[in-house]
Subunit: 556 residues, 2 copies
């Protein structure tokens, strides 16, 4: 057997557009296009290695697996289901029309073996891949996917700490990768300036090109001067700075500089591949993480400790400081920083009240490839949710400020009761020809009912059930039962091996009446499990929401 | 809120029999009956505490949850699905006729928190229960469930080590609980004598009463005398001995006694509740595991080390010695016994070749309660599989030697290609009235495609993928997609918290044509995932089986 191809720089992947099918139906076609869309150079961070985002989050295990998946999807019948095990197509089994066309399980390890060391060993042997959240489940849509979440978080920060306005304020953060690259734009949309530290010039260039960041500073002094100028003028500008966060943050503490908020989105969850150790060049890093993974990890974790200590210093000054879901506190704690968890994660700080109502990063993609299809759905959302000014504002800003990457897509945080209404309306638009082709609807695994991640989404749950992962497993089983088009179960997304279990779901609006029935079920059930999970944990908002919406919770 | 009721000694649970329904269809009725059957005093080890078998393996979290589950099942419509989270009914959601009626997730924890300590804390708070394998997934059928597996294992041991016959040989083991209690009978059926050490007289009494064990010895000398007599006479008799394995095994080593095989089925996987420390009375144990869980655990693990050292001594003498799936080697290793894994687990030693063909503990239960229904299915199995003398022999012995516990049931190790044929035949027998009522078909989680458990079912996989749990997750998702009646995902069964992930499946033959279609899919797919998993790991038997059976494996 030949060694599998992990890198191929010769290929350029882009999803087919239009209405001609490569597969036997729109259900398998949707998976076929979305897998390829995940690897579109406009979308993926490192498509030659099949890496989509979030460190080494892959869409397929290797290029042979990628080709075999496409081949399997082309041949798949509408009463069959394709199984994907960590990015490899392993089986096709008889099911039925209302069953998912694809079921995926990525990066799952028996708990006592759930470490990066064991995972990396299996990865090297070609037995596994890291699926992150939407990379391995084929519903990543570029940085836009995270923009609204980040925007909602910053807006909520403004509400809680600055009387509802971030005008004249500035946010200090790091990491301009697939997810982190959304931060400068989200800050601008929320009305704040931002200073964004990133150690790779290529990443800064990419964010400048896609208009996610406004300008790059020459050095720290220049950056601070720009921040001072724009905050004084009340202009919401984003500044990128090339540098290492583990150096820049302590320097800012030493200088007595006071940002108005502090966070971080380097890929700290993956200490071998995700975080540049202080004092290393990027070139050294790229080599040594292969030749000396352990040494790289140790150096990265030492730097993360320094980084977190600086964040703790800001926190101690009363500056709103929060972990943005990359598990950097845990890494610092492992290194002996015992008070690393003194500052909170962003979910308990800002997002949980939304999760209690099933509100989370709902998204959809136009398989036609035509931006007009998205604009028409934007209008439909406004029509169906007429009195939500905040949402309308988001849609307007998104349209004017966010470049599409790959297939045109939109994200909107909506919850139980609204998601299935939107899904049914989009399906109707496909049926009556308003849209040029079907639409797929999905969400992040970071959502209300789909994840157990005690250092992030389920941090500090009221009843102490942070680590109970029955919930995301039930979510995946129920979405499979309801007839989603593909369903995935992953481990280790966001916060790394050992720290999370989560599930993904995607469902296709192909305009059929069968799809109406599936959409009505799946887009009700999926946020419903989130409300259920939070109601069970004792959150009154969720209990009230369950009662209002008529959710059947036998022991509430 | 009142504290939930964990113990109720006033209630006696027994499944309804006959054809009158308490629920709206046979699908929900089947779950309704099987949950109650799991707690039938004939079936469960400790029904007052809802404990079915395997240490603290429960059928429901507490009595309020138990009642709420029954209530929910009574009201459940055939286009709805009930969700069970660690033994609590948490939601009812719209699905469709071909979807499972119940989906269960029990004892699942995010890996970094997957310890008995954290589990026990959640259990005490009323947030979790331990589902073991078939306890929390409502398809435990008493010790018979394990008899054939144990029988197959002992027969294979005889083939490998004693030229195909165990006549005149004797097996040394311990533990006469829910599972372990099958050992003496299985040994007898396989032609061997057995010495079975058990520390609780009540457990010995129960096995004597159900004819699983033949006689009890007064003391060790008496036991050895009986063994000597029966082995000399070539009579396959089973002897129980009241005592602590951690004392008796070392004593046998000291005396130079040589059994012909050595194993163990105490509940070593749960060091707080499952293993009596040496020198303690059972009464002290019952108290101290509540008042001093840590001290109990530590004492139990110290005794397990002594126990395993004695097993290693037998192993060193060339006596076939194997771990019978209770994780006792890991416990001894934790205590510093570095060579604990010198003797193998029973799966790589004896069972894997069967798993490669999808062969495992297939079972079915007559919901009528009428033993005749089982006898008719026995005859049908012989008719459909006419040329398997070993299987016919098993069915004859099972009928003459195995008492039914609770609803009449049968177990038969069969694999891919046969399971769905049997299922369809049983469904036909329900349809044409040959059977008095529907039958449920299920299996243990210990099966070919349903479990990742590196110290047991997936020990020493050829490609090193022991800890990859994508496989059981895909199994559960696919069985959900195929239309099983209930599907479960558990963690920690058999070997305890942190060491396994596994899934269960049950499907009802209600005589309908819709059930034909579901049975054809589910009972093909379920063993199919086992063949797929072993083919992917490089086992030629599995690859050949996949080709012969026409399994669609895209990259084989
Ligand atoms: N909170 C959320 O909503 C959310 C969602 C998804 C992901 N995340 C987490 O955010 C993190 C970032 O995700 P991503 O997709 O952007 O990852 P990514 O790997 O694409 O980007 C990380 C970026 O950080 C930069 N970086 C690494 N070390 C640095 C250092 N010492 N100083 C400055 N820059 C450094 C890298 O060059 C890279 O551009 C991950 O840990 C991810 O799990 C959070
Ligand atoms: N290999 C398999 O096929 C398989 C299947 C299921 C379960 N198991 C494992 O086998 C073990 C037993 O399962 P079970 O359902 O019988 O559990 P159980 O808890 O019902 O029975 C365990 C028995 O061991 C006895 N015991 C405990 N400590 C002892 C000691 N020191 N000396 C003598 N006897 C002692 C207990 O009194 C009890 O009767 C579990 O660890 C289970 O996970 C194996």
């Amino acid at each position: 057997m030949n060694a599998p191809t992990r890198i191929d720089t010769t290929r350029t992947i882009r999803a087919p557009r239009g209405t001609e099918l490569s597969c036997k139906s729109w259900l398998s076609e949707a998976a076929f296009r979305m897998l390829q869309n995940n690897l579109d150079p406009e979308v993926a961070e490192n498509p030659a290695e099949l890496v989509v985002y979030g460190g080494i989050g892959r869409a397929a295990r290797n290029w042979e697996c990628f080709d075999a998946i496409l081949r399997s999807l082309r041949e798949l019948n509408d009463d069959e289901t394709l199984l994907i095990q960590s990015g490899k197509p392993v089986g096709i089994f008889p099911t039925h029309a209302d069953a998912p066309r694809v079921l995926l399980a990525n990066s799952n390890l028996v708990p006592a073996w759930s470490t990066w060391e064991h995972f990396n060993e299996l990865d090297r042997k070609g037995l596994m891949m890291y699926g992150q959240m939407t990379a391995g489940s084929w519903i990543y849509i570029g940085s836009q996917g995270i923009v609204q979440g980040t925007y909602e978080t910053f807006v909520e920060l403004g509400r809680q700490h600055y009387g509802g306005s971030l005008r004249g304020k500035w946010i200090l953060t790091a990491g301009l990768g697939g997810m982190g690259g959304a931060q400068p734009l989200a800050a601008s949309l929320a009305g704040a300036c931002s200073l964004n530290i990133e150690c790779q010039q290529s990443r800064i260039d990419f964010r400048l090109k896609t208009r996610y960041v406004d300008e790059q500073a020459h050095d720290l002094d220049d950056a601070l001067a720009r921040i001072a100028k724009y905050t004084a003028a009340g202009e919401a500008k984003s500044i990128a700075l090339l540098g290492n966060a583990a150096d820049v943050l302590p320097e800012l503490v030493r200088r007595g500089v006071r940002p108005d908020a502090v966070t971080d989105q380097t890929s700290a969850h993956d200490p071998v591949n995700g975080y540049l150790p202080s004092g290393w060049t990027v070139e050294q890093w790229l080599q040594r993480r292969v030749s000396d993974a352990q040494g790289t990890r140790d150096a990265a974790k030492r730097s993360m400790k320094v980084h977190v200590e600086a964040m703790l210093a800001f926190h101690a000054q009363g500056i709103p400081t929060f972990d943005y879901g990359n598990n950097i506190r845990q890494m610092a704690k492992d290194e002996g920083c015992s008070n690393a968890f003194d500052f909170p994660g962003f979910v308990p700080a800002f997002v949980r009240p939304l999760f209690c109502r099933g509100i989370g990063p709902f998204r959809w993609v136009a398989l036609s490839g035509d931006p007009e299809d998205i604009y028409k759905t934007d209008a439909k959302v406004k029509e169906l949710i007429p009195d939500d000014a905040h949402l309308h504002n988001w849609l307007d800003m998104a349209r004017s400020r966010i470049s599409f990457q790959g297939l045109p897509a939109r994200i909107c945080w909506v919850g139980l009761g609204l998601r299935h209404k939107l899904g049914l309306a989009f399906n109707e638009m496909v049926r009556n020809g308003e849209l040029k082709a079907p639409v797929v609807i999905g969400r992040d695994h970071l959502d209300s009912g789909s994840v157990a991640s005690p250092n992030r989404e389920t941090e500090a749950m009221r009843d102490g059930s942070d680590a109970v992962s029955d919930w995301p497993l039930l979510n995946a089983l129920l979405n499979t039962a309801g007839g989603a088009t593909w369903v995935s179960l992953h481990h280790g997304g966001g916060v790394g091996m050992g720290y999370s279990q989560h599930s993904g779901v995607v469902i296709v609006c192909d305009g059929s009446e069968a799809a109406d029935r599936r959409l009505a079920r799946v887009l009700w059930n999926d946020p419903g499990t989130g409300v259920m999970r939070h109601a069970d944990a004792g959150y009154e908002i969720a209990q009230d929401c369950a009662r209002e919406q008529g959710l059947k919770l036998p022991m509430l």
